[in-house]
Symmetry: C2
Subunit: 197 residues, 2 copies
């Protein structure tokens, strides 16, 4: 499970135009999903890729599979970032910086926010499996920050994810204003801190 599915199934090498079209589709889907979200019609992705819908459906069995292939990369990247952030000497700062990163990414890319939200509703869906790595990373960051006493003791990983998703909705609501986005993130992080003192 690492190179993409063959069409035939035996061991024959794939044709050159097939792999070319596959990459065109992936590129177009990345652009369109990021700009418009998961609700964009499949035909639009195919058109942008310069390909018919039949071609698209030969490479990806369903729209959801294509979407999962696109957001999977982002999610893995974010999960890795969370993993490395756990090595930070200041756990509190590490958590808050990662929240800022996640909020900025998800507010700017519609596909990422859609994926996070879908994962919360349909636990069975393809993207939900991709999110667990990210959730684990947040969990690790939060544990260290809690041990340090940098955040309220009663918050769990689900709370953090919920707050981030919510903040992204708030940010998107006002047209991606950069200053406001930073303000909302700052407010949420301040709220996560332990009380005054």
């Amino acid at each position: 499970m690492h190179g993409g599915q063959r069409t035939g199934g035996t061991g024959r090498a794939p044709r050159a135009d097939a792999v070319r079209n596959r990459e065109r589709i992936l590129l177009a889907a990345a652009q369109v999903f990021a700009a418009q979200g998961a609700s964009v019609p499949v035909d639009l992705v195919a058109e942008r890729a310069g390909v018919g819908v039949g071609t698209l459906y030969r490479h990806f069995p369903t729209k959801e599979a294509l979407f999962a292939a696109i957001v999977g990369g982002h999610l893995r990247w974010l999960a890795d970032a969370a993993q490395t952030a756990q090595g930070d000497s200041d756990p509190g700062r590490a958590l808050f910086e990662f929240i800022g990163l996640l909020a900025t990414e998800a507010a700017g890319r519609h596909d990422l926010l859609d994926a996070l939200e879908q994962a919360g509703v349909d636990v069975e869906c393809a993207v939900a499996a991709q999110v667990v790595g990210l959730a684990a990373g947040i969990s690790g960051l939060l544990e260290r920050a809690t041990a340090q006493g940098a955040v309220r003791a009663d918050v769990g990983p689900e709370d953090v994810l919920g707050l981030v998703i919510g903040t992204c909705h708030g940010i998107r609501r006002m047209g991606g204003d950069e200053a406001r986005a930073r303000r909302l993130v700052a407010i949420v992080c301040e709220g996560l801190r332990t009380g005054p003192g």
Copy 2:
């Protein structure tokens, strides 16, 4: 514009079964929209009301009009609550209590959250006009709280509304857990407060 539209337009008294059906539709729509949100099919509302879709469309020109009629009541009620809360002797507490009320209402009722979100995207739509009263109430509460120094000086009414909407998404994400809902609201309110001290 206060009693609902007549069908004919002259001055004839409406038929008894017509007003009965109108109220059935309103009741069914209130239940279904609250449970499933604005995206619920019109046929389902009609079925629940024990009425055909044709009947529904005689009383309400469009689905959006029906939806606006349903959420309009809630929005006015909330706007009134915000108005009266402005008379509170403690502006900070008044604002935070109202945020908690709004979040609880919107997290439990899908229609209210959908309306708030739709108003942020389509400024032209019917519900957007209904939200301005609520926004004005929040504005007033925030102004007093800011003057008292109970909240950060750099937050605006739009920030508050965005945060509340976001918080509701976070709350809904985890299945309406009561304790978690209160925790998220508390975190956001704490973040809105002026820094430590």
